[in-house]
Amino acid sequence: MVLIRYLIASFRVKQIICTASLLCLLIPPPTWATSWRSDIQASQLNFAPSYEGLPINGDFKEFAVIYTTDQEGEPEDLSVSVLVASADLGNSELNTEIRAAKWFNITAFPEAKFSCQEFTTDNNGKVFAHGELQIKGYKKPVTVPFSWRLLTTGEAVMRGELMLARNSFSIGSDEWASGDQIGLAVKVWFDVVLNPINPSL
């Protein structure tokens, strides 16, 4: 009797172990949130104020984007920091002017920041980052739309375009405030290449 019971029990244990290991195989392996960092050499952050309705194309030479996606690959966190003093409008006279107090006031506000934890996506997979933009001491809610594409090389590309109202940040004050010559709307567009930052376990 004892022997029989033992045999049955051990059979059950085996069964349990087998089922458990099978179940284990069905559960996907654990994943982690991935963070991405911009490759400054390969990335571009452009801006274009308008003069009499025509664009003056410029860019920021120094900026960094850190983007985090969660286990499901959904956007979780986006933070962008821009060295305002690296703004280049392709003309030394303009570059001096925009660094001054009436425009970016770089001595007091050398950095601009965008940070976002709230995202929506549309049917085409376009992501909308509803975050906060901080320039020249002003913080404003701003939505940055972008497309996100993984490359076969393991990098990812983030692209988008938006319009900002320079008067919301008091960029171009006094005689420039009206927007008559230098328009109030400034186009901003970016093409950022990002590399995954290996998760440190």
């Binding site: 003069y51 009499e52 309705g53 025509l54 664009p55 003056i56 194309n57 410029g58 409008l89 392709g90 003309n91 030394s92 006279e93 303009l94 002017e97 005689e175 420039w176 008559d180 010559q181």
Partner: protein, 178 residues
């Protein structure tokens, strides 16, 4: 007075083009110096819209003028000596050349400086070159030297016109006037 030039007379089209250009150039030179002297401000930008618009207008008038000149005749020079004819011809062609070099160098300065141009606040003029700081300096130098040459040649030109009118008392000035 007909529209066409004859061997004796300037037609009205040539006269209008000459005097309209002359008027704009006389505005253009002080305007250029004034606009350049201003600090960067809305006023400076407006002054440059005028300067660039009028300057490109000179260029347009020049093109019409040269086409008209090639298609028709021009009155014979009333200068006595061959040397004088030669000098006056050289001066006229130099003036024509400057009326091309000034607007084109100005256009290059603006484009190389990454500043878009809207003529008379209405017509966008496309960039002729991409942003380029060193090209901008070269074009600005050329523009400046051209201004100096223009002023010198104009002194000669106006002096010669006055000499014909007051000293030689010939028809040169009268046939260019209305």
């Amino acid at each position: 007075m007909g529209i066409k030039n004859t061997s004796q007379q300037w037609g009205w089209l040539s006269k209008v083009l000459h005097w309209l250009t002359a008027l704009i150039i006389f505005l253009q030179i002080p305007l250029g110096f004034y606009a350049e002297s201003l600090r960067l401000s809305p006023l400076k930008m407006d002054m440059f819209v005028w300067h660039k618009s009028l300057g490109m207008l000179v260029f347009l008038l020049l093109v019409i003028r040269l086409l008209w000149r090639i298609k028709g005749t021009i009155p014979q020079s009333l200068s006595a000596s061959g040397a004088q004819k030669c000098i006056s011809q050289a001066a006229h062609w130099l003036l024509y050349g400057l009326m091309a070099v000034l607007p084109i160098s100005g256009w290059i300065i603006s484009s190389a400086a990454n500043i878009p141009i809207k003529l008379f606040w209405l017509i966008p003029l496309p960039a002729i070159v991409g942003p380029d700081e060193s090209l901008k300096s070269v074009a600005a130098e050329l523009h400046h030297i051209s201004v100096l040459v223009l002023v010198a040649v104009l002194i000669l030109h106006i002096g010669a016109a006055l000499r014909h009118h007051l000293l030689m008392q010939d028809n040169t000035m009268r046939r260019m006037w209305f």
